[in-house]
Structures are given as structure tokens and as C-alpha cells.
């Protein structure tokens, strides 16, 4: 599903963010990208979302070469991906309901489909009472749950989660991880970037460890080791 071939990313003038990174992620896998801050986790996810282009190497998503994708074709690609960010990236001028409905509107869903699915997903993430609140009126945990709801509403092939528990207390962090596991059980590929040792160790899933932009470990049932 996702394949990286010798990907290198250098930010000008001379910051080496990723160096010769290669791996493959199969459909319905749950993969954690582990590493210290600055190891290149976020850069890797940004490259997968085509926010950044690699300096060298190639990335394939469903057989499509992302390093050569045209700007006009990006929306179609991104509709196959659900992204969750540490800083939530909710639209501040839209309510919780509208933030989630926006993705459905983007893919051209009907009003009936939007009403049915958004209410359903809000129930799953426990925000059914926050539909009319704006992001600024939600707690950090609620915002992240809204962001997850937005990421999964259109049933994407893969969910990219970049430090989704970074701003949360342990209780909310656990909630978010449970949600991601539930999404994975329903058949979605999940790529989780985190530096949280407890979370990685508790998952018992595949872990790719990055250090200074290089893959130093790739284990099927990995642990957080430095």
C-alpha cells in the first residue's frame, strides 16, 4: 500500500531530515514510527501527505508515485488518507459538526449521507453533545477526538496520526489510542508517529524506529528501545 524507496529529504541550507529511508507498509497494518523529537517522524508523514517532496528517492501509494504527482491530482489522493495532527488542525470558524461534515462535502456526499455518518462518528468518538461547539470551546482531548472523527468519516484507506497524544493527559491519550485501534480493527491501515514509550510498548504492533533521519530498526512486534 505504502512503499518508500531510498527517500532522502534535505531542508535548505543543509538540514538532513531523512536519509535513505526505505520500507513498505501493507494494507490493514498498524505501524508505529518511533523516534526522539527531530528524528524525522513528522517529515516522513508530511512526505506521505505530499506536504513536502523528497529530495531523493520515490514514494508509492497504491502504486502511484507521489514524488511525481501533479498539484491538480492531490485532492483525490488526500481523500484516500485521513490525517490526525498533534495540533489538531481543525477549522476554527466551523463547529465540530461542520468540521467533520466538511470532509464529506469535499467528496461530494449527499446531505442525508452527511447527517447520518457525521452523527454516527460523533457518537463513536463521544462528541455527540459537542456538535454545535467551535474548536476553541472544546478541551484538548475533545479537539483530538474531533480531529480523529474528521480523519475517519470518509472511510479512508489509511490514517496518518502525527503525535496525536502529544498535547493530551494520559487518560485522554489512552482514549485516542483505543480509538485508533478500533479504526484499525475495522480494516483501516494506521500509521502512528509518536515518541511515547508507554503507548508503543502497550501496542505490541510493528515499530519502525528512526534516528537522525535514518531507519535504525524495523520490528514486527517492536518496542521502544534507544
Amino acid at each position: 500500500m505504502v512503499k518508500l524507496q531510498a527517500v532522502t529529504k534535505i531542508f535548505l541550507p543543509n538540514i538532513l531530515a531523512l536519509e535513505n529511508v526505505s520500507f513498505e507498509i501493507k494494507p490493514k497494518e498498524f505501524v508505529s514510527i518511533a523516534g526522539k523529537s527531530g528524528a524525522g517522524k513528522t517529515t516522513l508523514l508530511r512526505i506521505l501527505l505530499v506536504e513536502e517532496k523528497p529530495t531523493k528517492g520515490r514514494i508509492f501509494f497504491d502504486g502511484q508515485d507521489l514524488s511525481k504527482i501533479e498539484l491538480a491530482r492531490l485532492p483525490q489522493l488526500r481523500r484516500k488518507i485521513g490525517a490526525v495532527f498533534q495540533d489538531y488542525k481543525l477549522l476554527p470558524s466551523k463547529t465540530t459538526y461542520e468540521n467533520i461534515a466538511y470532509v464529506m462535502e469535499v467528496i461530494g456526499a449527499t446531505e442525508e449521507e452527511i447527517a447520518r455518518d457525521v452523527n454516527q462518528v460523533l457518537e463513536i468518538v463521544g462528541l455527540e453533545r459537542r456538535t454545535k461547539n467551535f474548536p476553541a470551546e472544546l478541551s484538548a482531548g475533545e479537539r483530538q477526538r474531533a480531529a480523529i472523527a474528521r480523519a475517519l468519516i470518509h472511510r479512508p484507506d489509511v490514517i496518518l496520526a502525527d503525535e496525536p497524544t502529544g498535547n493530551l493527559d494520559p487518560y485522554n491519550a489512552l482514549d485516542i489510542i483505543r480509538l485508533l485501534l478500533k479504526i484499525h480493527e475495522l480494516g483501516t491501515t494506521v500509521i502512528l508517529a509518536t515518541h511515547n514509550k508507554e503507548i508503543i510498548n502497550s501496542l505490541g504492533k510493528r515499530v519502525i524506529t528512526l534516528e537522525e533521519g535514518r531507519v535504525i530498526r524495523d520490528e514486527e512486534r517492536g518496542r521502544f528501545v534507544f
Binding site: 506536504e51 498539484l71 492531490l74 470558524s93 469535499v106 467528496i107 449527499t110
Partner: protein, 305 residues
């Protein structure tokens, strides 16, 4: 397609109505721009009216001697009318000149007493000649000189051109200068207004840079992002047009009688209502055009994510 348009319109309206402060600021700048554009349109025509009123007052007068036969004067009138540069020739008889004088100065006892003292009718019959342009008065004067030198010299008392020549030339220089200065000023003001409005909208969109980026990341197409901004710009333009139209209606309604006292024959209210739809069109085109064009240019660079 229809659903997308409906969603874009709704989203544009929601953004406009939810961000009251920004919407008010954008509308305010647009009101100023539209106000300026409309003022330029109105002042151009009012100025034209004033210029033509002043130009109407410039003429050459040929005064005929006491006792000059009317048929000879009318013959001269016909001859002068045939000069291509002449726009009109008006014959004012002795009695008409007196009547006009009395009519004009009936409230001035000193002048009326002086007239009585002089006794009879001291005015001379005259021909008032108007040409199409100021530069043509010299040609008309030359023609009169040539004609007068021959057959009609005995009939004419004086030609009142050389005395008025500097005044006439100055009036025409002034009015032509006013026209040029008006056009230059209009262009400069219009450019300033457009730049100010454009930058205000650009700054407003700069605030939403992150939001545009997020919309791109969740897979929104360029039009789905751009659309609401364009709608927002257009709504600001429409609101600004309505506000501006109200302001102009009030100004023209209240000031029209006062302006008419200053410049007789200039009825601003009649001009405003007579050109109402042209003014609405100018205001709408300025408002919506500014909103839409500024939004388009401002968003363009943020869509490359």
C-alpha cells in the same frame, strides 16, 4: 455541481456572518472605494456641466450704430451665420436690450434711477455670436474685420471681442485645465482606492492561511476552497454598495437644493435619480469586482500546498 455551488454559497455566507469584525473592516474599506468611484463619476458630469455653463457665457458682440436699419442688421446676421466656425448668432434689438436690462436690475434703485436720468433707450442693437470652440473666436473676429472694412463698416458701432479676448481665452484655458486635472486626479484616486481595498482583503485572507492549508490537506479541491472566499468578497461588495447607495441618496437629497442656489440649473438630485441604474451598476461592479479579484489573487499563492 448544483450541490457544490449551494455548499460554496452557504460556506461563504457563514464565513462572512461569523467573522463580524473582519467583514465590517472589509466593507468599510470597500464603502470608501465605491464612494470615491461614484464621486468621480458624479463630479465628472457636474464639472462638465459647470464648464459648459461657463463656456456658454463667452461670445462676441457686434453693436450697431443708433438708427441702423433692422433689415441690414439681419442681413449681417445671415452672413455671419454662414461662417463654418459660428455655432449661433442671436439678434438683440434695442428694445430687447432695454427690457433685458430692466428685468435684470429692477431691484437695483441706483441703476434704475440712472437709466431714467439718461432718458429714452440708451442701448444699441447687437448680434451675439458664439463659436464652437474658443480658438475659433479669432477667426470669427477676422471675418468681421474683413467684412466691416467694406460694405458694412458704417453700420457697426463697435465689436466687443478685443476687450473680452483675454477673459475668454483665460476661461477656456481654465476649463480645459480643469478637465485634464480632473481626469489625472480621478486616475490617481482610483488607483489608490483599489490598492487599499485589495490590500485589506489580502490581509484578511492572510489570517486564514492556515485554514486554507488544512482544507487542502483534507482533500478539498481548489474551487471548493476558493469559492467561499469569492462569495465572501462578493457579499462584502454587495453590502458596501447598499451602504454607499444610501449615503449618496441622503447626500444628494439634502444638498441638491443648496447646490442649486450656488449653481443655477444644476440639480444634483435630478441627475442622481436620472442616472440611478448607471450608478448602481458602477457601484456593484466596483464592489463585487474588487472583492472577487482581490480574493482570487490573494488566495492563489496559498493553494499551492
Amino acid at each position: 455541481m448544483f450541490t457544490s455551488i449551494k455548499r460554496i454559497l452557504k460556506s461563504g455566507w457563514l464565513s462572512f456572518s461569523r467573522d463580524g469584525g473582519l467583514a465590517a473592516a472589509t466593507c468599510f474599506i470597500m464603502v470608501m472605494t465605491i464612494f470615491l468611484t461614484t464621486s468621480l463619476f458624479l463630479s465628472r458630469d457636474v464639472g462638465q456641466f459647470l464648464i459648459s455653463t461657463i463656456q456658454e457665457k463667452a461670445d462676441i458682440s457686434v453693436y450697431f450704430k443708433e438708427g441702423a436699419p433692422e433689415e441690414d442688421i439681419l442681413k449681417v446676421k445671415e452672413e455671419i451665420s454662414e461662417i463654418p466656425e459660428v455655432k449661433s448668432v442671436k439678434y438683440v434689438s434695442k428694445s430687447e436690450a432695454l427690457e433685458s436690462f430692466v428685468q435684470r436690475h429692477k431691484d437695483d434703485p441706483v441703476l434704475m434711477e440712472s437709466l431714467e436720468e439718461v432718458g429714452g433707450n440708451p442701448f444699441l442693437a447687437a448680434l451675439n455670436i458664439r463659436s464652437f470652440e474658443a480658438s475659433q473666436y479669432q477667426a470669427v473676429a477676422n471675418f468681421l474685420d474683413d467684412t466691416l472694412s467694406s460694405s458694412l463698416k458704417d453700420l457697426v458701432e463697435k465689436v466687443d471681442y478685443y476687450q473680452r479676448k483675454p477673459v475668454i481665452e483665460r476661461i477656456f484655458a481654465l476649463t480645459s485645465g480643469m478637465g485634464k486635472a480632473g481626469i489625472s486626479l480621478s486616475i490617481v484616486l482610483a488607483i489608490v482606492a483599489i490598492l487599499v481595498a485589495f490590500n485589506t482583503i489580502r490581509l484578511a485572507i492572510l489570517n486564514q492561511k492556515e485554514e486554507i492549508k488544512v482544507q487542502r490537506l483534507v482533500g478539498a479541491s481548489n474551487w471548493f476552497i476558493r469559492g467561499p472566499f469569492l462569495v465572501q468578497g462578493a457579499i462584502s461588495g454587495i453590502f458596501a454598495t447598499i451602504i454607499c447607495l444610501l449615503i449618496f441618496t441622503l447626500i444628494c437629497w439634502f444638498l441638491s437644493p443648496k447646490i442649486e442656489i450656488l449653481f443655477s440649473g444644476l440639480n444634483v438630485w435630478r441627475y442622481f435619480t436620472g442616472n440611478f441604474f448607471t450608478i448602481i451598476l458602477i457601484q456593484l461592479v466596483t464592489g463585487i469586482g474588487l472583492g472577487v479579484i482581490s480574493s482570487t489573487i490573494a488566495i492563489r499563492k496559498y493553494l499551492k500546498v
